[in-house]
Structure formats: C-alpha cells, structure tokens
C-alpha cells in the first residue's frame, strides 16, 4: 500500500534525530511536526526569524506577531530565540540547519531540485526562501508524490522546470518509495507496496537497489 500524506510525514519524522535543527517547508512538510518522536528535542527553524517554533495556537491565543514561513500562527517553545531575516538566512546559507524538508515539482538524478515554478506562461513567479533552503541545509529531504496528477514521474533524468538548486537534494520521500541521491543516480532504500521493477517503469530511470542495505546514518554521512 502506498503511503498517504500523513503516513509519509510520519515516515520522514522517524529519520529526524534528536538534537537536529530542522526547517519544514511550506505545505505538506509542515505535517511532519505532528509525528516527531514524543519527548525528543528537535528544534524547528522558521526562516522568518525563529528557532524553537511550537505548534499552532488555539483560537483566542493567536499572536499575529508570531507566524511561520507559511504565515500561519505558531507558538514559542521554551528555549526559543528570535532574530532578524539576515541572521536567519545566514543560518541557512551558512549550513547550520541540519535538515530541511521541501516539496518538489521535479528532482533530477543528479539531485537538482525544481519546486518554485512550472515556468508556465502567465504564472506569477514566487520563490521565497526555497532557493536558500535548497542550497543551505546540510540535508535536503524532498517530500512528494512520486507521480504528478497526470501520471508523470517527478523523479527525472534532468529537470525540465526552472531549477531551485543544483545538486542539492539528499533524499526523496515519496508515497511509493524512498530514494537516496547517489553518484550513481537514485538508489531505492525502501518501497511501499511496490517493486523496483514497477518503480523503474514509473520513473523511466535506472535505479540502484539498496532496499536490503544497512540503513545509513545520513546525518553523520553528510555532516559538515
């Protein structure tokens, strides 16, 4: 059975270690915060100037001065800190955020990410902090369906949509499987009620089979 959004969020949450500084992108990735292990201290960064972001407030307790990058009201956990935008993006660009999780239109097998524009004529472009997150975080996780609504693979040989960042994606979590970006292309590490053959057919890509490999501690692997 493929994973729905919430189960995918829960799956990603399992790979976020205690002590990590994490930025959860606008949209589906924000669901992940609901599944972080109970009691584990994981510190959420929001690029509009905060570390230690907490859950949404109840009505009546909303503080319009306290919002996340999606402009949704949030709360402050003990140990939180505020800072201005230049400091916040320095934190991102400087490689201090351990993990960010972003949505995607396309991810190439070289790790290129396209998630801000379809390049459609007449569309109003908006990029926000996506490019900074993509190139700044130590680990860039993508959370997405494997296929578009019209059945095309979001994992591609080369992105046709305008890029967000070059060679920046570490791992792609989809409803069908988890893919690591490797020098040999996408490596499948875990499947959800599908097979390598089906994934190969759906993506049209040569895939590396790592479904039986020992799990790799990815934060250790790529920490700088």
């Amino acid at each position: 059975m493929s994973l729905d959004r919430t189960r995918l969020a829960a799956r990603i949450a399992r790979d976020i270690p205690e002590g990590a500084y994490v930025n959860l992108g606008i949209g589906a990735p924000t669901l992940i915060s609901d599944y972080l292990p109970e009691g584990a201290e994981i510190i959420l960064h929001t690029e509009n100037g905060m570390l230690g972001m907490g859950p949404q407030p109840r009505p009546g307790e909303i503080d319009p001065d306290l919002i996340n990058a999606g402009k949704v009201p949030v709360t402050e956990l003990p140990g939180a800190a505020y800072f201005h935008h230049a400091d916040s993006f320095g934190m991102m660009r400087g490689g201090h955020i351990d993990i960010c999780v972003l949505g995607a239109f396309q991810v190439s097998q070289a790790g290129d990410l396209a998630n801000w524009s379809t390049g459609a004529p007449g569309a109003i472009p908006a990029v926000g902090g996506a490019m900074d997150l993509a190139i700044g975080a130590k680990q860039v996780f993508v959370m997405t369906d494997l296929l578009t609504k019209t059945g095309e693979s979001k994992l591609v040989a080369a992105c046709s949509y305008p890029l967000t960042g070059v060679g920046c994606v570490t791992r792609v979590y989809t409803d069908r499987a988890v893919f690591d970006v490797t020098p040999d292309g996408f490596a499948v590490t875990e499947t959800f009620d599908t097979t390598l053959e089906e994934l190969t057919r759906l993506t049209g890509l040569e895939l590396v089979d790592r479904t039986h490999a020992e799990p790799i501690d990815i934060v250790q692997e790529a920490g700088t």
């Binding site: 929001t46 690029e47 509009n48 100037g49 905060m50 407030p57 009505p59 009546g60 307790e61 909303i62 503080d63 319009p64 001065d65 306290l66 919002i67 996340n68 402009k71 949704v72 009201p73 402050e76 505020y82 800072f83 201005h84 935008h85 230049a86 993006f89 320095g90 991102m92 660009r93 290129d112 524009s117 007449g122 109003i124 472009p125 908006a126 990029v127 926000g128 902090g129 996506a130 490019m131 900074d132 190139i135 700044g136 305008p162 890029l163 967000t164 960042g165 070059v166």
Partner: protein, 262 residues
C-alpha cells in the same frame, strides 16, 4: 535634545516623493507598518519602487498602496500568496514591474547596502533562472553568483517600542526585515505601539540602535496586546471575538478590528 518622535504618521512620512525607492518591512502581515503605508497613500507620491518581501496581503497596507496605483515596480521574493489578489491583478494587467529575488539574497542585498559592502558572492540561485545574466564564480569548489546592494531612499518599519533616540525593539517574528532595512535607507521611519522613556529599553536587547532611525511615530497598541501584555487574538489578522461580531460597525467594533481597517 534629540527627539525623533513625530506627531503622527503623516508627519513621519513627509518628504517621500514621486519616484522614491521605499523599503517596507514585514513578512506577510507580521511587522508590516500599515499606518505608515496609509499615511504614504495619503501623502500621494506616484511611481514608487517598493522593496518588500511580499507584495501585499488582502486589501490593507501594502496591498492598498498597490491598489491605489502608486507603485511602478516591486522588488520582492514572494508576491503570490493566497491573499495577494491586488498584486495578482496588477501584474496580469502589466501595470506593475516585478523584480523577483530569492529571499536570502534579498535580505543580504539590503544588509550589504546598510553595511557598506559593494557586492558579494552568494551560492543561492546559482544555476537557476534568477541568476541568469549575472556574474558567477567558483570559489573553493563551490559556485556563487555576484549580487549587489539594494539601497533605498526611505524605509517604513513596523516596530514594537522605541525611545526618542530612535532605539527600537520588535515583537517575535515581526522583527524580520525591520532591522536590516533601517540600516539600508537614507531615511528610516519606524512606527511603534509605544514610545518609552530613554533608558527604559534594555541596552543589551535593543535590536535597532537609534543611529539607523530618523523618525519614530506611535500608532497605538495592537489588538492582541493590553498594556504590553499578550492577550491573544482569534485570527492572524489580529481580530478578537467571534467572527460574526466583526462585521458590525461602530466604535467598539472599530477599535477591535483596527489591524484590519483599510
């Protein structure tokens, strides 16, 4: 005696002219200096270039300035939002120019202007359409794009408290672009809930020192605060009480919805 406090928002924005470049703080509605923007609309200059992270929300503040047809060009990172219908309409009609800048480059370019940096190499945007035509360079095995400072004639900033010397503090994530813009504009204008006595702000906690601030104006306390204590709101616009109450006009309702007033 130094006294940067102006009598009202109109006095605070005096001098902004046709063709001025104006930075406007805020991320969405948080930290957006709505009362200063309203005063700018009242003052009337046209052909403005606006530098701001977004391109307006709903029909207030920056959106209202856009709707009034005063803006020739906007430099921002994220114009398209759920509630950016004013900008969307102008853009589709070809009535406004857009310079789209990745958010981190936007704020770093503003910071560079304030800090006297002539240009800087940033990794953000390399290999993307937003770096097209720009100088690039590989440094220590990484690729960078050269970006230049963004200066402004004026900055309109939403702060929390200030003193007459122009020292400013902010509340929570409304800090965002304020401190950076204050340093990048020739004339920086800050609206606050309250002006406090010199010495009342903790010198360790002042976020924007007065050296960056030219004018300060009090616009009164926001809905979600009472005497500086957080009392909460029922939506992100700062309204209080059941939604059904908010359409009722009258002084009481008006006072409660000032953050949403056009």
């Amino acid at each position: 005696m130094i006294d940067k406090v102006r009598a009202d928002a109109a006095a605070a924005v005096a001098g902004i002219e046709d063709g001025s470049t104006v930075m406007i703080s805020g991320f969405g509605r948080a930290g957006q200096p709505v009362e200063l923007i309203d005063a700018l609309i009242g003052l009337g200059p046209n052909e403005l270039t606006i530098v701001s992270n977004n391109a307006g929300n709903g029909d207030v503040g920056l959106a209202r300035l856009l709707a009034a047809g005063r803006v020739r060009k906007i430099v921002c990172s994220f114009p398209r939002q759920l509630d950016s219908w004013v900008f969307d309409g102008l853009y589709r009609a070809g009535e406004i120019e857009l310079e789209l800048v990745p958010q981190g480059n936007l704020v770093e370019r503003i910071r560079a202007a304030g800090a006297g940096i002539g240009a800087f190499f940033t990794p953000t945007g390399f290999g993307t359409p937003l770096a097209e035509g720009k100088e690039t360079r590989e440094i220590d095995g990484r690729n960078y794009v050269l970006e230049y400072p963004i200066h402004a004639d004026y900055a309109l900033i939403g702060g929390y408290r200030a003193d007459r010397l122009g020292n400013v503090i902010y509340r929570k994530t409304s800090r965002n672009f304020g401190p950076v813009m204050a340093a990048a504009a020739t004339t920086s204008i800050v609206q606050v809930d309250e002006v406090v006595a010199v010495g009342a702000l903790d010198p360790e906690g002042i976020v924007t020192p007065g050296v960056f601030v030219d004018r300060v104006v009090t616009v009164g306390e926001r809905n979600w605060l009472e005497g500086g204590v957080f009392v909460g709101a029922d939506d992100a616009e700062g309204n209080r009480g059941p939604a059904s109450d908010r359409t009722a006009p009258g002084p009481a309702a008006s006072a409660r919805t000032k953050g949403d007033a056009a």
